[in-house]
């Protein structure tokens, strides 16, 4: 019997006033009973619109049916066919614009909580199953993956399952890319990322950390000297963007990448951390994406009394995941919409003392289809703050572009690749933020998955033509 409740089962969470002082995960996840109850809200429509909204096409109604039956391991196996990182995606995917947006139950009431169910299934598997991933029979072919973020890990996993000998090259000392340096512990516990990486290693994937491709080895060397038949570039987003306004290089002005890397990768939130981070009392975060939300919520947890999100458009245009905005507001983050900084003021010792802003109005839609913000004349005002975090996106890292001859890039630096990930160089594939510019974890995973298929076709094609 279907559960006809118009509302999703709520997911228990730490109280806002408590969680904004610690780095433990915000939400606790469903219990088995709640998960089964929620799963019964699925109507199992014939057309399966939800699957069309999923960048990796998880067989959503099928896994939900298994959850409803209480066969959680069966549900996990279905998700695993399509997704290498279910525990991650259940937490960080923008479901409201993907699978859940297409859910028929959303027409009248709330959609089925697909993301929460995915998370439940993955967590249940990680806690209860001791099945080790089964190594595929080696097919004798070698593939290199550059970058161990969501695109690289997915591509590596899919290739390893097909029998390829895969080596992942990571520039940092730890695998995971944005999942470890960017997304905070309270939203995506690092133990979960490590578990996913361990699963890949169990599948036979080799991970080489401290290897900056483009410096220590070039893509050409990987192919010519080390015998990799194909290379996947998933090197991710690159240098942070700034606004070029006065005061941007003051001591207490961070890029979100720097602030989050200090806090997440280097664990500066822990008292005994050897990597420092400034603990400001009043913080302005500039930007409206997930990264801005993460930075603001970290600043709050580090003890800031006032944290502002300064965004030049209105609430409707916020690119962040709905749940993150909601959580941020609950935790006391103050949103300053239609506000744009024009200068950061210098206080004592080269620290920031405030940010001068102007009010904005929304004009005609721009190239992105969103209404373009225009400055309201004479609206200048100042927000007092002692630190500023710029979360304005990134431009691609130039290292691989500059050292790989014949690799075409866009004017703004992104690598040119087709839907399957094929670049202008034979045997070289790319996907994720390195191709699209800053986007989401799941889109990067989708790109890694398509590229794995394309690499498999490419190598098998070469084999057959021998």
């Amino acid at each position: 019997m279907a559960n006809m409740s118009l509302k999703k089962n709520p997911m228990p969470a730490q109280a806002p006033d408590e969680r904004n002082k610690n780095f433990y995960e915000v939400t606790f996840g469903y219990t088995a009973e709640t998960a089964m109850d929620e799963a019964r809200r699925c109507l199992h429509c014939k057309t399966k619109p939800c699957m069309g909204g999923c960048p990796v096409h998880i067989r959503i109604p099928d896994f939900i049916a298994k959850v409803a039956e209480g066969d959680f391991e069966g549900a996990y196996r279905i998700i695993q066919e399509s997704s290498s990182l279910p525990a991650v995606c259940g937490r960080v995917c923008p479901q409201e614009t993907q699978c859940e947006q297409k859910c028929v139950r959303g027409v009248k009431g709330e959609p089925v909580a697909i993301g929460r169910l995915e998370r439940f299934v993955a967590d249940w598997h990680n806690a209860n199953s001791c099945d080790l991933p089964v190594k595929a029979e080696p097919n004798g072919h070698k593939v290199a993956v550059v970058g161990s973020g969501p695109a690289g890990l997915t591509c590596a996993g899919d290739l390893a399952k097909r029998g390829y000998a895969v080596t992942v090259f990571e520039a940092l000392h730890l695998a995971g890319g944005v999942l470890v340096y960017g997304i905070p512990e309270f939203r995506l516990p690092k133990a979960i990322v490590q578990k996913e990486v361990d699963n890949l290693v169990a599948l036979g994937v080799k991970i080489e950390t401290n290897m900056v491709i483009g410096r220590v080895l070039s893509v050409d060397e990987l192919m010519q000297e080390y015998g990799f038949e194909a290379v996947f570039i998933g090197s991710g987003a690159g240098l942070p963007r700034f606004m070029n306004i006065p005061g941007e290089n003051l001591k207490s002005v961070y890029s979100a990448n720097e602030f989050l890397t200090r806090v997440n990768l280097m664990k500066a939130y822990k008292e005994d951390s050897r990597t420092p981070v400034l603990r400001a009392k009043r913080v302005c975060v500039v930007g409206g994406g997930n990264v801005a939300m993460d930075a603001a919520r970290c600043a709050k947890r580090l003890g800031a009394e006032e944290v502002y999100i300064v965004y030049r458009r209105s609430r409707a245009e916020l690119p962040a995941r709905a749940e993150e905005v909601e959580h941020a507001e609950e935790e006391g983050i103050v949103f300053k919409f239609l506000t744009n900084p024009v200068a950061i003021l210098e206080g004592e010792n080269g620290m920031a003392a405030g940010m001068t802003c102007v009010e904005m109005e929304l004009g005609e839609p721009d190239a992105s289809g969103r209404r373009r913000p225009v400055v309201k004349e004479g609206s200048e005002f100042t927000i007092g703050c002692d630190a500023v975090i710029m979360a304005l996106g990134t431009s691609p890292n130039p290292l691989i572009k500059n050292t790989t001859e014949g690799l075409q890039t866009q004017k703004w630096g992104g690598i040119v690749a087709d839907e399957a990930g094929q670049t202008s160089r034979e045997g070289v594939f790319a996907g994720g933020d390195a191709v699209t510019g800053a986007a989401t974890v799941i889109l990067a995973m989708g790109a890694g998955k398509s590229a794995a298929e394309a690499i498999d076709r490419y190598i098998r094609g070469k084999e057959e033509n021998k």
Binding site: H173, N249, P398
Partner: protein
């Protein structure tokens, strides 16, 4: 893990380590740097490559003990291991086409200036080296510099060795004596690089300085190492570390470098106490 094959104390606060890192040794060029973590809990710090041996597969670093991390690094023995060692990072120094160059090194910056002087010498350029230290006890790499220099000037602040005075005094004298340099390469404390650049600007001599700001990833991701060059924001890790000395905003760099001074002092104290305690346990 990266093995320390040789460790040598150059002076009481400066140590040389030769580290097994064959991949980096194959590609390293003067002017580039590495990032290391001493152990699993360590912070990431950048250190410029002082030398490399492609055949042996080793990279040499020379560091001054200034904070907790360098204190811990200095405590690792020969034969011990550094947890993470990544590079070569940054753009190599440009030496092509240079025929006559003044290389100015200050303090531990000489460790970075030396490989550049060596490369220039190897390519047949006339190298005039001017090195400066606070006092005789802090002098490093004297013989090495002499071996690659057509002219060598030693300066100390207190006159305890070489000539008393600043590197800028010696450089000015050389320029006034009629030496015409294609380029001046200055590597040392920010203040020294600033004053060398102010001097050479008067004479219109192209000057290159090497920046060593605070970094985290060092690969072009975090943006911590940004500085202003000719009014534009640049990133030392991918655009540098070498920049046009006449265009760099030194005052901004000095401010940014002091961001965590208090923390660094405490960290060093913590590291020192830890080692004292450990030594005490061993000896007691």
């Amino acid at each position: 893990m990266y093995k320390i094959v040789k460790k040598r104390e150059l002076n009481p606060t400066v140590t040389l380590m030769e580290v097994e890192a064959p991949f980096i040794a194959r590609k390293a060029e003067p002017g580039q740097f590495i990032i290391l973590r001493v152990d699993e809990e360590g912070e990431r710090i950048p250190l410029t490559i002082a030398d490399f041996d492609r055949d042996k597969g080793t990279v040499t670093i020379i560091f001054q003990i200034v904070g907790g991390t360098t204190e811990r690094l200095n405590h690792l023995p020969e034969g011990g291991f550094i947890h993470d060692f990544v590079g070569p990072l940054g753009e190599p120094s440009h030496t092509e086409g240079l025929k006559k160059v003044a290389v100015v090194g200050g303090g531990v910056g000489c460790a970075i200036a030396y490989p550049v002087a060596k490369k220039l010498h190897a390519q047949g350029a006339e190298v005039h080296s001017v090195v400066g230290f606070r006092s005789r006890a802090l002098v490093i790499l004297e013989e090495e510099f002499k071996g690659v220099s057509d002219l060598f000037k030693m300066m100390t602040d207190d006159g305890s060795y070489g000539e008393k005075g600043l590197v800028t005094d010696a450089l000015k004298a050389l320029i006034q004596a009629g030496n015409s340099y294609d380029e001046v390469i200055a590597i040392g404390p920010v203040v020294m690089m600033k004053f060398v650049s102010l001097l050479t600007k008067q004479y219109g001599i192209k000057t290159v300085v090497s920046m060593n700001p605070i970094m985290i990833d060092g690969t072009g991701m975090c943006g911590c190492c940004r500085l202003t060059v000719a009014g534009q924001t640049k990133f030392a890790c991918v655009d540098g570390p070498d920049f046009d000395g006449h265009e760099v905003d030194y005052d901004e760099i000095l401010k940014r470098a002091s961001t965590y001074k208090e923390f660094e002092g405490k960290e060093r104290e913590k590291a020192c106490n830890l080692f004292k305690k450990a030594d005490g346990l061993q000896n007691g």
